[in-house]
């Protein structure tokens, strides 16, 4: 079998609660300063959880110079376009007429696609007593607004990006809840390896900070109810953790076949070296306390990268700050790394950004690439009393300087899908290539 085509990360774009671009997001994450606060997007005063990590000052972003495009861009889509714009500019390459069909686009998109005002308009017109009277929608403006329909489609996001950048190759949208972003990037990696594409714009976007979105998590008691101390509410691995903090935003990467990136003199953040996927097949919301499920995803990512457990220096954990996730994930760390478990630095950047759901894995992939570039493991914020069940080597409060030869990023979703991505320092990749591997 011929060697796998290697894949370089040459562009990153981030729009997160921690900042509207890569530099500001990365600075706030290194400062371990949590982003959660009272919800301002809508009146959440009656909800059991009234806090979230919102993207702030988003209207200050440069306006998008395409009116047709904006007509069917929702809040999450606008995050996606902004982050993708950054990633493409950062990579310094974009599709041309000659190579557009060799560009792919794979995105992880959120599940909530209809704005609350539109749900409310339909309810008012066609379900005044609570039961939908279908024929009453026929005269309701929102139900006849083609742009509202466009925004609601699961492919609206990928469509906006394909058109904006003129991408004409393989295009796909995935949704495996919190694993979406990781699985999208993993699919993109594979497209390049398969020879189906040479470059892929890939990432995730989401915003569930809306009445119905927040309601879904409140009903499940999945979100932290710490309304009086929002900045400390997301505290992965802490004994007192009591749920995640809902975030929003987008992360995008430009992935490129390694040799072509080198040939054009691109700045390579890291090699996207491996993709591991598994199903927990246990419960809808949890993986097994033993870590079964996440274990296989991590092992697969390491093997897929042509590496061994001993090569991994840093793990960006899924680390949602829910009691079950963190325990199961830490058990997986011990199972995978065995005697070496305490040598792997672990942190959850969700302690700062909150949980960006379908965008989480994509943003965290970008953070892993930055960690490798800067030789800094980003810290986990808000950890005071370590849960004995989360006895791993946590990077606490301040960034930890280290040469990171390889990093992993976990994204574990409701529904049981587990994604793990493996990243390698570009110098180590160059050394492997020089050694004929």
């Amino acid at each position: 079998m011929t060697a796998k085509r290697r894949v370089a990360i040459t562009g990153i774009g981030l729009v997160t609660p921690a900042g509207l671009d890569v530099a500001s997001t990365w600075a706030r994450i290194k400062a371990a300063k949590g982003c959660a606060g009272p919800i301002t997007i809508f009146d959440a005063s009656g909800f059991s959880t009234r806090i979230a990590a919102e993207v702030k000052g988003f209207d200050d972003l440069p306006p998008i110079d395409d009116r047709k495009l904006l007509k069917y861009a929702s809040r999450a889509h606008r995050f996606a376009i902004a982050a993708a714009d950054q990633a493409i500019a950062d990579a310094g390459v974009r599709p041309t007429q000659q190579d557009a069909s060799r560009w792919g686009c794979v995105v992880g998109a959120g599940m909530m696609t209809v704005a609350h005002e539109e749900i409310a308009a339909i309810q008012k017109a066609a379900a005044p007593q609570g039961e939908l009277e279908p024929s009453a929608i026929l005269t309701e403006p929102v139900a006849n607004d083609v742009m509202a329909f466009s925004r609601s489609l699961s492919t609206a996001g990928v469509s906006l990006l394909l058109r904006r950048f003129g991408i004409r190759g393989y295009a796909s949208t995935v949704h495996t809840a919190c694993a979406s972003g990781g699985q999208a990037i993993g699919t993109a990696l594979r497209l390049i390896r398969r020879g189906v594409a040479d470059r892929v714009l890939t990432g995730g976007f989401d915003s569930m900070i809306s009445p119905v979105g927040l309601a879904g998590f409140c009903l499940l008691s999945a979100v932290s109810p710490d309304n009086d101390s929002p900045e400390r509410a997301s505290r992965p691995f802490d004994l007192t953790r009591n749920g995640f903090v809902l975030g929003e935003g987008a992360g995008f990467l430009v992935l490129e076949e390694w040799n072509s990136a080198v040939q054009r003199g691109a700045t390579i953040y890291a090699e996207l070296a491996g993709d591991g996927n598994s199903l927990s097949s246990y419960r809808i919301t949890d993986s097994h306390p033993s870590g079964d499920g996440p274990i296989q995803a991590m092992r697969r990512a390491i093997v897929d990268a042509g590496a061994t457990e001993a090569d991994i220096a840093y793990l960006n954990a899924h680390g949602t700050s829910t009691p079950m996730n963190d325990r199961s994930e830490c058990a997986a760390v011990h199972a995978v790394f065995g005697a070496r478990a305490m040598e792997v630095g672990v942190s959850s950047t969700k302690s700062v950004t909150g949980h960006l759901i379908a965008a989480a894995g994509a943003v965290e992939a970008g953070l892993c690439a930055l960690a490798i570039r800067d030789g800094l493991m980003p810290p986990s914020a808000n950890l005071r009393e370590l849960d004995p069940d989360c006895d791993v080597n946590i990077v606490r409060d301040v960034p930890r300087p280290a040469h990171i030869g390889m990093a992993l990023s976990n994204s574990l979703g409701f529904g049981g899908s587990n994604s793990c991505l493996a990243f390698r320092h570009p110098e180590e990749t160059a050394a492997l290539i020089a050694a004929g591997r």
């Binding site: 909800f47 339909i122 309601a215 598994s278 409701f414 529904g415």
Partner: protein, 425 residues
């Protein structure tokens, strides 16, 4: 490259609940549209849809308790996945293994699902609460837990079929839930095949499911001008739009080595797939069929085949002028005047959206195994823009055992898959 075979094939739609019965309906020339049952749509355009008959969710699932955790679209997907897995004998084989081998088997069995629908319907569960609280969000928050099912979010997950089919059958390998609207089902098959080629799995269950017959979706499609008033007539000079269907289909894909070891019955072989986008916008379709012709060329190249090798084509054939005409252009571009018999199934079973590509593969494989290309019964006179297309009202034999299936979707997405049918002696 690893040979990939098909050992399970299932389908459910308005024309039946297994591929063989559905092909029988197509061969009889029956369109399965009836007045929409979910609401009184008598005054609507597109008041007809191809609906699963005598729907009984608990029976289809074989588990009444699960019905509380899933939606109609999920019921179809779980049903189809379960049927295909049973036909392939995957679970029975696993259960006969020792404990260690069972765990390895589970880890080497993947699942990819193409999932759609429900964008509007899931929100309707909040209508009683919204009516009660009359536009007040603080009251909405306060009354939430007394008026909405606590499991609402889990019932609404787009990846529910992936979750429940995997729990039920202990599938623990590589996986994905593709929510790329119409092409999702075909992409679930393409991604499954790659997982086997790349050695990440030895078997994979591919599923496409959807239930798009809901009022808001139908009205929006009508607003975009995509809905027919009476019949779905692909390529006909009177083609005026599409009609909705619902259901699911599933294939079990397996490496040849795995299938031979199990002694499984081989229904066909996966040969290749391709995907291409046009990047023009959400509803825009290029007149020259550029995206579709490239998807076909990529699939042929992936399979190492020439156009002349293709024995029959199951086209998208959705009855809208924009799609039909550009599809004809794409097929003429690739096949010229040496075109194999072309057909499509939506004239009978409607458009299943995220399930459409998967069910076209499922039914197409069954038809190709019988060496018959079902005719398009609603076809009268060919539209001028579709001249040269090798379509017929009549059932015809295929030119060879190689089947090409096409699928197109919003956002200018196009996918193509090539299979070889194993014909029973």
């Amino acid at each position: 490259m690893t040979r990939i075979v098909i050992t399970g094939n299932s389908a459910i739609c308005g024309a039946g609940q297994d591929p063989a019965s559905i092909v029988d309906v197509l061969l009889e020339g029956r369109a399965m549209f009836t007045p929409i049952a979910a609401w009184d749509a008598d005054t609507w355009r597109g008041k007809l849809a191809a609906q699963v008959q005598d729907y009984n969710g608990g029976k289809l699932l074989g588990d009444r308790k699960l019905l509380k955790l899933v939606r109609r679209s999920d019921v179809f997907g779980i049903y189809a996945g379960t049927q295909a897995i049973e036909q392939a004998g995957l679970s029975a084989w696993r259960e006969a293994l020792d404990e260690k081998a069972q765990a390895d088997y589970a880890d080497q069995t993947g699942c990819y699902v193409g999932s759609g629908g429900g964008a509007f319907e899931v929100n309707y569960d909040f209508f009683p609460l919204m009516a009660e609280t009359d536009g007040s969000l603080p009251k909405f928050g306060q009354e939430l837990s007394s008026m909405v099912n606590p499991m609402w979010l889990l019932r609404s997950l787009p990846n529910n079929v992936l979750c429940h089919v995997s729990i039920r059958n202990q599938l623990k390998g590589p996986n994905g839930c593709i929510t790329n609207h119409t092409t999702s089902g075909l992409l679930s098959i393409i991604e499954s095949a790659w997982a086997l080629r790349e050695g990440d799995a030895d078997r994979s269950v591919a599923i496409g499911h959807d239930a798009p017959i809901e009022p808001q979706t139908l009205n929006y499609l009508d607003c975009v001008g995509l809905v027919s008033n009476d019949l779905l007539r692909p390529y006909d000079k009177r083609h005026d739009g599409c009609l909705l269907g619902e259901g699911a289909a599933s294939l079990v894909l397996e490496t040849e080595a795995s299938a031979l070891e199990r002694g499984a019955t081989i229904l066909g072989e996966y040969l290749g797939g391709g995907d291409a986008s046009e990047g023009e916008g959400i509803f825009d379709v290029r007149e020259d069929g550029d995206g579709l012709s490239r998807a076909i060329e990529y699939a042929l190249s992936d399979a190492g085949l020439k156009p002349a090798d293709v024995g029959m084509i199951v086209a998208h054939a959705n009855g809208t002028q924009g799609s039909d005409n550009s599809e004809a252009a794409a097929l003429l571009r690739v096949f010229g005047d040496d075109m194999p018999p072309v057909t499509g199934f939506k004239w009978s079973i409607g458009h299943l959206f995220a399930a459409s590509g998967a069910i076209d593969v499922s039914i197409g494989l069954e038809a190709c195994r019988r060496n018959v290309v079902p005719g398009i019964a609603t076809l009268g006179e060919l539209a001028p823009a579709c001249a040269g297309l090798n379509v017929s009202q009549q059932n015809r034999p295929a030119r060879s055992d190689v089947l090409l299936v096409l699928c197109r979707g919003f956002a200018g997405t196009n996918a193509a898959v090539l299979l070889r049918a194993a014909r029973p002696n």
